[in-house]
Symmetry: C2
Amino acid sequence: MAIKKSERTRQRIVESANRLFYRQGFHNTSFTDVVAASGVPRGNIYYYFKTKDEILLAAIDYRLERIKVMLEGWSDTYRTPLERLHRFIALLDDTAEALTQFGCPMGSLNAELGKANRALQHHAAQLFALFEDWLTDQFAELGYAGRARELALRLISIGQGISMLTHVHHDADWLRSERRRLRRWLDQLAEGDESCL
Amino acid sequence: MAIKKSERTRQRIVESANRLFYRQGFHNTSFTDVVAASGVPRGNIYYYFKTKDEILLAAIDYRLERIKVMLEGWSDTYRTPLERLHRFIALLDDTAEALTQFGCPMGSLNAELGKANRALQHHAAQLFALFEDWLTDQFAELGYAGRARELALRLISIGQGISMLTHVHHDADWLRSERRRLRRWLDQLAEGDESCL
DNA sequence: GATATTTTCAGATGATTGTACTAGACAGTT
DNA sequence: AACTGTCTAGTACAATCATCTGAAAATATC
């Protein structure tokens, strides 16, 4: 029971920090910001995390866990790999508003950390790895066993490009039109049309 | 003559700052870093720029100017739009090492500024605009007048995706393989093969 | 119900931040 | 040689930063 309480406090810190890191960037988010957003007093946060980096690590782990759950859910909910891949693409729509305002959470975090703190970036890269592995499975099931990873990487890459330009231009309409194109591309692929590989 | 001297100091500040902003990120680069890197004393920098934001503005203008010169050079050097588009794609090779280490200069800057400082980001978005306009001209000349801008945006988007994943995985080999694909895509397009639009 | 452990939280730490002031060096003009 | 505006450069500043302390409070364990 007591463990539950403290776990909840810890969770509150991680969630608040994670949100701030996404919306403001890691370096642009201060310890005080986390204090204000979480409502957890300064000294108490320090009880759970010795440094700001540790908070980030926990935030990344939190994201990893959520992504895992999401992907497993998709694997359970949808029968065919094509449906699952379409579900992935639909992520662009689900998060359209946030993408427009703050960019891709994975991309922007990795971009920021890759510059100054490569150790932390390496951890953040696991976020991409999760999607890559899952997408690789789907493409393999779709019949592209030999080139499954190649296709997975390409799909993520295209998604990153779309996210970036959407964010740069604050243009959710363009995002939606590119997402439609992506869906058509996927349908073509599912029909065995490899002309565009 | 005296003007020349001071211009050179100013330039030294801008170039050092620009380099640091790219390699470390804007928020993660301190005033003191700029002082150390440029060799220009603190108070003297303040004579040229009242705030850190002003330095960033100047750094963006510096980049804009360099890009303009580069694109005009390409327009002069290469006769056909196809050659020019290939030259653009070759940028991925020219800057492969930096892309791997620090990501795309335009992309990462916009990603960082878009979170906290939208006014500055809007200025940084002009970096993209330059390429977009130039590429639009090339696609129009290539015979895709109606969809020139659409294609320009797509090409940049793909480039951003490639840059991002290359940076995330620190994998310049993957960059090169994707660049080869991009070249093939462009050649197809030039031959009038629209199957992959 | 006494003791041990975990959790809370106000406040201090010194370092670093961006910004600002000031005194004077240098040049060009008279 | 004196004046003028441009430029140099040392240093100070208040604010904010991440980090830490220590003692009180809550809770768990016996």
